[in-house]
């Protein structure tokens, strides 16, 4: 008689708390939002409108202009992070992992500290530093004779978004640094020694041996940056307010969503259009992550030590 396979109840029991909590605080609200975006008010009553909210968002020039502007700004915000934050993070990690560097622990801590600061503090401090009236930036530039280079960056349409992106880079550069640093430390000494035996040292060693080994970490960092940037909101809100001035030059999807969903000043919140924007954001992030998972991660080569 074949032995009956026992039902392994303990698996379900151990998974249950996490599944329940995650369902309650993530999955249910997510579907709630998707559901909300399919309704709208008609003479005070909530009616099902299908995809009409999306037609408004993408079809009505008033909505779509604001949406594409926010998406474009968001893309630029992400590009700056990818081009500045992540390379600097890798570079700092490479320097920190060098055995000849003294006081590595101090640098590591100093560079990581801004990451644990609140957005409110970072936004406020940088606003003060860059202030044309009280800030130290004009004074410092003046001291080296470059006063002419100073501009009220946060108030100019052409510079504001880049300035804020760089402030965000300053704040978060510690995260890629730490992740890459950990990845570099996990490279076995034998591999490094073998490389040295073959005469691969210095920068060549970094490019040819270490970089390929930390590529999966860089990939994860890119995804984290992507998700973080497309959900960003706090820094812009703190420094420029919900109207994301000057002239919506710093408006990203997060601030656009906030204004629409919760309202602003005399503008009364519109949860239905807000949910529509949130759904569009969810779609964009989902597409980006899927692209990474299927197109990039499957091609990354992994090395087993």
């Amino acid at each position: 008689m074949a032995q009956r396979k026992q039902i392994r109840w303990h698996i379900a029991v151990f998974l249950a708390p996490a599944v329940l909590v995650y369902t309650a605080i993530m999955i249910v609200p997510l579907f709630g939002t998707l559901n909300l975006s399919l309704f709208n008010l008609d003479q005070g009553n909530r009616v099902f409108v299908g995809l009409r909210n999306f037609a408004t968002l993408f079809g009505d020039p008033r909505w779509s202009d604001a949406f594409w502007n926010a998406l474009g700004n968001n893309a630029w915000f992400f590009v700056i992070h990818m081009l500045v934050q992540n390379p600097i993070g890798v570079l700092l990690a490479a320097l920190l992992s060098s055995p000849r560097l003294r006081g590595a622990a101090f640098y590591r801590t100093a560079i990581f500290i801004p990451t644990i600061l609140s957005f409110v503090i970072v936004g406020f401090v940088w606003k003060l530093i860059l202030s044309p009236i009280w800030g130290i930036a004009p004074g410092m530039l003046d001291a080296v004779g470059l006063k002419a280079l100073f501009a009220p960056w946060l108030g100019k349409e052409e510079y504001a978004l880049t300035t804020l992106a760089l402030v965000s880079v300053w704040q978060f550069v510690g995260i890629p640094m730490m992740l890459i640093y950990a990845a570099l430390l996990s490279i076995p000494d034998e591999v490094i020694e073998a490389a040295e035996m073959d005469g691969v040292t210095g920068w060549a060693q970094f490019w040819k041996i270490k970089l390929p080994l930390i590529l999966p970490s860089i990939g994860i960092i890119s995804v984290l940056t992507f998700v973080g940037n497309f959900n960003a909101f706090d820094l812009i809100y703190v420094t420029q307010g919900a109207l994301a001035g000057p002239n919506f030059a710093t408006d990203i999807l997060g601030t656009f969503l906030y204004r629409t969903f919760f309202g602003f000043q005399l503008q009364i919140g519109d949860p239905h259009m807000g949910a529509t924007i949130a759904t569009a954001m969810f779609g964009i992030i989902l597409l980006g992550v899927c692209f990474y998972l299927f197109a990039i991660q499957t091609r990354l080569r992994r090395y087993q030590f």
């Binding site: 008033r62 606003k127 860059l130 202030s131 044309p132 009236i133 009280w134 004009p138 501009a151 009220p152 960056w153 946060l154 108030g155 100019k156 349409e157 420029q240 307010g241 109207l243 001035g245 000057p246 002239n247 919506f248 204004r259 602003f264 000043q265 005399l266 503008q267 009364i268 519109d270 259009m273």
Partner: protein
């Protein structure tokens, strides 16, 4: 030992509860938590002394949370008897949902002008649901020490206004005007809404816009933008990144000569300046000498009755008192810069507040043009005005383009403006 004390305390609580039981306690919902001390020490004692048997408790919540807190309390039936009313749509919505009582037939309503009541009425002005308390007046505050030093007098006309700015600029010691565009609302509220009523002729223009007989591209509505465009040259270096607190500090530190503003700053600036210099004020300049002047006398705060109150009689009694000249005098003096809307003249002690309120005698009052009805749709006219005013001051959008954009936005959803 401690047990005895506890019982004693419990007994005294019960007893005192019983002793007050014959009194009616009214609770006020408000967002003015800054004013808690003034209500507890000055206003409520004055009412209680005159009306034995009614106790009043002032229970404010944080300004940013007030609307949400009030809505949920009203829905749950736990809101206070008296409700402090935000102007226009926020309160109108509560009235339409039956949460606020109709107060049209109160005797105290006769003490208020139509403009004063307009913020708390139905669109057709047949029903009033809150007793107006206070308004704020827009104008310009100036540093009298700088004016004396440069031999300037408060300008009356546009030409004099720009001549004064030019003179301060030529002297080079001071920033002619403290204003920044970073926060945007300064440009719209202290710029456009401040000087605008002189051009669109106050209520006449505002009502014509609501009726659809005039449009934002008419000269009356573009002209204020043309004026704002000229302000750029007289603002401080880097005004594009200057915030509202920056502007306040520039003025109170004596580094700027003129500050376009509203009367609510009086109570804030006085202690900050601490007597370092004297402040003066002048109303928005008119186009030519002798022109009729208009000021923005914006209705800001009122009080209504929770429709579900258990003590309607006592609540109305309190509201009648809020509509009286006695309350007006108390309130206006406790909070200089928040002016009573009562038609009866109110004696005030603060000279700057007196200066502001004296304009009511010569100028026609109006309210901010975007507040009533016109900011109900998408795009929101008030928010768009912030953006447009900031753009015009910075020079990134011409007055005509800005006006056209506002008009197109308004006409896209507001029936009377669709042509």
């Amino acid at each position: 030992m401690t047990k005895t004390i506890r019982y004693a305390l419990l007994a005294s609580t019960l007893l005192s509860g019983a002793a007050w039981a014959e009194d009616v306690t009214l609770t006020i919902e408000s967002w003015r938590n800054d004013d808690l001390a003034i209500w507890q020490e000055k206003i409520i004692p004055a009412f209680e002394a005159a009306n034995p048997g009614i106790k009043v408790v002032f229970a404010p919540s944080a300004p940013a949370e007030y609307n949400a807190v009030l809505n949920s309390k009203l829905d749950a039936g736990s809101a206070g008897d008296l409700v402090t009313c935000r102007p226009f749509d926020a309160s109108l919505e509560l009235f339409n949902k039956g949460k606020l009582a109709d107060l049209s037939d109160m005797a105290a309503m006769a003490n208020f002008s139509d403009v004063a009541k307009s913020a708390w009425q139905t669109d057709d002005a047949t029903k009033t649901f809150c007793v107006p308390m206070a308004s704020v007046i827009h104008g310009f505050i100036y540093n009298r020490a700088i004016f004396d030093e440069l031999g300037l007098t408060p300008p009356k006309t546009e030409a004099e206004f720009f001549a004064a700015l030019e003179k301060i600029k030529a002297n080079g010691t001071y920033i002619p005007m403290a204003m920044g565009t970073n926060d945007q609302w300064e440009a719209a509220t202290m710029g456009y809404q401040n000087i605008g009523p002189n051009y669109w002729k106050g209520e006449e223009g505002r009502k014509a816009l609501i009726a659809g007989t005039s449009s934002l591209t008419d000269e009356a509505w573009v002209a204020p933008f043309r004026q704002l465009a000229k302000w750029k040259d007289y603002l401080g270096d880097g005004f594009e990144a200057q915030t509202y607190p920056d502007s306040q500090n520039l003025f109170t530190l004596g580094r700027a000569a003129i500050y376009p503003t509203g009367s609510w700053e009086i109570g804030v600036f006085g202690p900050q300046i601490g007597g370092a210099f004297e402040m003066g004020a002048f109303p928005p300049p008119v186009a030519a000498d002798g022109d009729k002047c208009y000021i923005s006398d914006h209705t800001d705060i009122a009080m209504g009755m929770n429709a579900a109150t258990k003590h309607p009689e006592q609540t109305k009694k309190f509201l009648e008192w809020v509509g009286s000249s006695e309350f007006a005098t108390l309130y206006a003096n406790a909070l200089p810069g928040f002016f009573s809307l009562n038609s009866a003249a109110v004696e005030m002690a603060d000279p700057l507040a007196k200066e502001f309120v004296s304009w009511r005698e010569t100028c026609e009052p109006t309210i901010r043009s975007t507040y009533q009805i016109l900011s109900r749709g998408t795009p929101n006219l008030e928010n768009e005005t912030w953006n447009a005013s900031a753009n015009v001051i910075k020079g990134t959008e011409t007055p005509e383009d800005a006006a056209k954009r506002l008009q197109d936005g308004l006409a896209s959803w507001y029936e009377p403006q669709k042509k």
